[in-house]
C-alpha cells in the first residue's frame, strides 16, 4: 500500500446504499461521474502528508472521525440571529447540512437578472442543463476530496447572473452545520456560479455551525466569470468548534473579467479553503485575499493556485492571520505563468502574527514562470507583536491586554481593507472584533 494514502476508507462507506437516493440517480452522465468519483477515492484514499498539496495538513483526524453521508433532515426552525454575516437585506439562500431549505431562504427577494436554484431541484428537473457545468474532480491524489464530492454531491446553489446585470445587494449563501446525535454527518455541497458577460455582482457565503458535535463540510464551487464581468466572492468560515471544513473553489476568469475573493477563517477544528483560479483571458484581474484567526488546536489552511494562461492579466493575493494557543496555519500559494501569458503581473503576500510560542505557521510560496516578460513577487513574514509598539501604547496608560488587542485588530484590519465594498468590510470587521473580544475575556477569566 502506498504511503501517500490513508487506509481508512470509511468516508466512502454507504455509497452503494446512498447512491440510489441521491438526486439525478437515473441520469447516465451523473451516475458515471459519481462512480468515477468513488473509484478515485477508493483507489487513492485520503492524501497523507507525503502528497505535496497536503504536506502541511494532516487528515488523519478526518479519516478517524467516521463521517458518513447525512441521512434525514436536521431539525432547525430558524437561523439564529447574528449567526451569519450581517448583510442587511441581502437575499438569503440557506443550506442546512448541505441541503437547501426553502423555508429558511428568501429566494423571493432575488434581484432581477439573477437566478438562484437548488442543485438537487435542477438535477431532478432538468439535469441536461447541468452536464456542461459540472466538471469532474481533478485527477490524482490532490483531488480526492473533490472526487468524494463528485460521488456524494446532493444539493447546493446554482446561481446565474445574466449578462450586463449590475447588482449591489449581495446574494448571501448561508451554510449551517447541525450535528446529529449519534451520527458524524458529512455533506458535500456543490455550487455552480455563472457570472454573465459584463455583469457585476456579489456572492457572500457564511459557513456556520450550531451545537456542539462534529460534522464535515466538503464543498466544491465552480465559478465562471464571463467577459468583462466582475464577481465579488466573499466567505466567512465560522464552523462549529469540532467541525471539519474543506472547500475547493475553481474559478475560470475570462477577458477583462474581475474575480475578487476574500475568505475569513474563524471556526472549525480543521479548515482548508483552496482556490484554483484559471485566468483564461487578457486584461483580467484575479484577487485572492483572506484572513485567519486561530486559537486552541485549530488548523487552518489556505491554498491557492493561480494559472495565468493569457497575456496581460494580473493577480494579487494578501493573506493575513493571527494564531494563538496551539493553532496551526498553512498558506500555500502557487502562481503559474504559462508560456503565452506575457506581461503578467502577479503579487502575493502572506503575513502571520504568532501570539504564543506554541502556535505555528507554514507558508510556502511557489512561482513557476514559463514566460519571459512578467512581474511576479511574493513575500511572507511570520512574527510577533512589536515590543516597541506595545511599549508605546502602554506608556499612554493602555493596559497590556488592551494594547495587544489593539495591535492584533489593527493588523487584521489591513487584510479586511482589501475588500472593496464598505458593507462587506464592516460585516467582516465585526466578526474579527468579536474574536478579539472573546479572546480578551478568555484571558481575563484565566487571569482572575
Amino acid at each position: 500500500m502506498a504511503k501517500e494514502m490513508i487506509k481508512d476508507l470509511s468516508l466512502a462507506a454507504g455509497f452503494e446504499e446512498a447512491a440510489p437516493r441521491l438526486p439525478g440517480s437515473d441520469v447516465a452522465w451523473l451516475d458515471a461521474l459519481r462512480a468515477q468519483g468513488i473509484a478515485a477515492f477508493r483507489s487513492n484514499g485520503l492524501p497523507t502528508r507525503r502528497v505535496e498539496a497536503w504536506r502541511y495538513t494532516n487528515l488523519n483526524a478526518l479519516a478517524k472521525a467516521g463521517f458518513a453521508p447525512v441521512r434525514g433532515d436536521a431539525e432547525l426552525d430558524a437561523v439564529p440571529d447574528g449567526a451569519a454575516l450581517a448583510l442587511g437585506d441581502a437575499c438569503r439562500i440557506v443550506l442546512v447540512n448541505g441541503r437547501l431549505r426553502h423555508d429558511l431562504s428568501s429566494l423571493d427577494q432575488l434581484p432581477d437578472g439573477i437566478a438562484a436554484v437548488g442543485l438537487a431541484e435542477l438535477l431532478r428537473r432538468s439535469p441536461a442543463d447541468l452536464e456542461d457545468l459540472i466538471a469532474p474532480a481533478p485527477e490524482g491524489r490532490d483531488g480526492v476530496l473533490a472526487a468524494l464530492n463528485d460521488a456524494f454531491m446532493e444539493d447546493g446553489l446554482v446561481l446565474q447572473i445574466e449578462a450586463g446585470v449590475s447588482v449591489d445587494t449581495p446574494i448571501h449563501l448561508v451554510s449551517i452545520g447541525v450535528p446529529v446525535a449519534g451520527q458524524a454527518v458529512a455533506f458535500h455541497p456543490r455550487n455552480l456560479i455563472v457570472a454573465g458577460a459584463g455583469s457585476r455582482s456579489t456572492l457572500v457565503e457564511s459557513h456556520i455551525g450550531l451545537g456542539e458535535g462534529s460534522y464535515f463540510s466538503n464543498g466544491l464551487t465552480d465559478v465562471t466569470v464571463g467577459k468583462g464581468a466582475t464577481l465579488t466572492h466573499a466567505k466567512l468560515q465560522d464552523e462549529g468548534a469540532a467541525a471539519f471544513h474543506v472547500a475547493l473553489v475553481r474559478a475560470r476568469i475570462a477577458d477583462e473579467a474581475v474575480y475578487d475573493s476574500f475568505v475569513l477563517h474563524r471556526g472549525g477544528e480543521l479548515a482548508r479553503h483552496e482556490t484554483h483560479a484559471s485566468i483564461e483571458g487578457s486584461g483580467a484581474e484575479c484577487r485572492l485575499n483572506g484572513a485567519y484567526l486561530g486559537t486552541g488546536r485549530q488548523h487552518i489552511d489556505n491554498t491557492t493556485v493561480i494559472d495565468h494562461m493569457a497575456p496581460g492579466s494580473q493577480s494579487s493575493e494578501v493573506f493575513k492571520g493571527v494564531l494563538a494557543g496551539h493553532a496551526r496555519g498553512v498558506f500555500q500559494g502557487r502562481i503559474v505563468v504559462h508560456r503565452d501569458a506575457q506581461q503578467t503581473n502577479g503579487h502575493q503576500l502572506n503575513k502571520t502574527l504568532l501570539l504564543s510560542r506554541d502556535a505555528e505557521m507554514d507558508t510556502k510560496p511557489e512561482l513557476e514562470i514559463y514566460a519571459d516578460d512578467v512581474k511576479c513577487s511574493h513575500g511572507a513574514t511570520v512574527g510577533e507583536l512589536s515590543e516597541m509598539e506595545l511599549f508605546y501604547l502602554r506608556t499612554r496608560g493602555i493596559d497590556e491586554a488592551t494594547a495587544r488587542d489593539m495591535l492584533v485588530s489593527a493588523f487584521l484590519s489591513e487584510a479586511v481593507s482589501e475588500l472593496r465594498d464598505e458593507t462587506l468590510v464592516s460585516a467582516f470587521a465585526e466578526r474579527i472584533a468579536g474574536w478579539v473580544e472573546a479572546r480578551h475575556e478568555d484571558r481575563t477569566e484565566k487571569a482572575a
Binding site: 506608556t395 499612554r396 488592551t402 489593539m406 489593527a410 493588523f411
Partner: protein, 252 residues
C-alpha cells in the same frame, strides 16, 4: 517630598553599565533640563523612568510621589501621571490617532475613577487640544504616526500630552529634527501645560529648545552621571563651551 526623586540610580543594559549613580529631585511647578552629549545615557534615563523592558536596575530607586516607581508597569506609571514624549514616536499602522487617544484618555480616566468620554464628547475635547498645535481632523483620522513628517510626529506627542494632562512630563529630545517654526509650536504647547501642580523634565542635546521652554534647573549628564547642576545659565555656558570639558574630565 519631591514629585520625582531619583536616588543613586545604577542601570545596566546587557551587563553594560549605562547609568552610574544618578541623583535627581524635581518638585511640582518646576522645569528641569538634562543636557548631555550623545551616549551619555539620556535616552536610557527616559526609558527607565517610563518602564521599558531590557534595562536592569542594579542599585538605587525612583520615587514618584513617594511611591516606588520601578515596581509599576508602564501603563500603571502613565495612570499615575507620568508621560514620556518619545524621541522617535512609534508608528502604529491600522490604529487611528483618534482611537488611540480616546483609548488612552479613557484608560486614565478609569484609573482616576472618572467616567469614560463617549465618541462625541471626546471629539470635541480633542479638537480643542489639537487646534493650537495645528493638528486638524485629517491628521486625527490617520494611523498613529504613519506617514507623518518629523514635525508632525513631535506635535502629535505634544497633543497626547495635552490630552492626557500628566503630572510629570519627560520630553526626550523633542527638539530633534524640528525647524524653528515647529519648535515654537511644540514649545508653546508645552508651556501652555505648565502649572504649579505639574513638572517637566526636558532631555536635550542642544540649548536651543531651552530658549523657549525656560528651565528652573539644568543638569549635565555625562557618562552615566550628573556631573554638574545649575540654573538656566548653565545651558548657555554649555552652548558656548561644549561638552568636551566634561568628557575630558572623565578621561583624565
Amino acid at each position: 517630598m519631591a514629585l520625582l526623586e531619583i536616588r543613586n540610580l545604577h542601570v545596566t543594559v546587557e551587563d553594560k553599565p549605562i547609568l552610574k549613580g544618578i541623583d535627581l529631585s524635581i518638585d511640582k511647578g518646576e522645569v528641569h533640563a538634562i543636557m548631555g552629549p550623545n551616549g551619555a545615557g539620556k535616552s536610557t534615563l527616559s526609558y527607565i523612568i517610563a518602564g521599558r523592558d531590557g534595562y536592569e536596575v542594579t542599585d538605587g530607586q525612583i520615587l514618584f510621589d513617594g511611591k516606588d516607581m520601578l515596581e509599576l508597569e508602564p501603563d500603571e506609571r502613565a495612570r499615575a501621571g507620568l508621560f514620556l514624549a518619545f524621541q522617535y514616536p512609534v508608528e502604529i499602522p491600522g490604529v487611528t490617532n483618534t482611537t488611540f487617544l480616546k483609548t488612552a484618555l479613557n484608560s486614565l480616566r478609569k484609573g482616576r475613577g472618572e467616567g469614560e468620554l463617549d465618541a462625541m464628547q471626546f471629539l470635541k475635547f480633542v479638537r480643542e487640544k489639537a487646534r493650537p498645535l495645528g493638528i486638524g481632523d485629517e491628521m486625527l483620522k490617520r494611523a498613529v504616526n504613519v506617514g507623518y513628517s518629523g514635525g508632525e510626529k513631535k506635535r502629535n506627542e505634544i497633543l497626547q500630552m495635552a490630552v492626557l494632562e500628566p503630572v510629570l512630563a519627560v520630553l526626550d529630545e523633542t527638539d530633534s529634527g524640528l525647524d524653528i517654526d515647529a519648535l515654537k509650536i511644540v514649545a508653546d504647547g508645552v508651556n501652555a501645560l505648565r502649572s504649579p501642580d505639574n513638572a517637566t523634565l526636558v532631555i536635550t542635546h542642544y540649548q536651543r529648545l531651552l530658549d523657549y521652554i525656560v528651565p528652573d534647573r539644568v543638569h549635565v549628564l555625562a557618562d552615566g552621571r550628573i556631573v554638574k547642576s545649575g540654573g538656566k545659565d548653565l545651558a548657555l555656558e554649555l552652548e558656548a563651551k561644549g561638552y568636551a570639558q566634561f568628557s575630558s574630565a572623565e578621561a583624565a
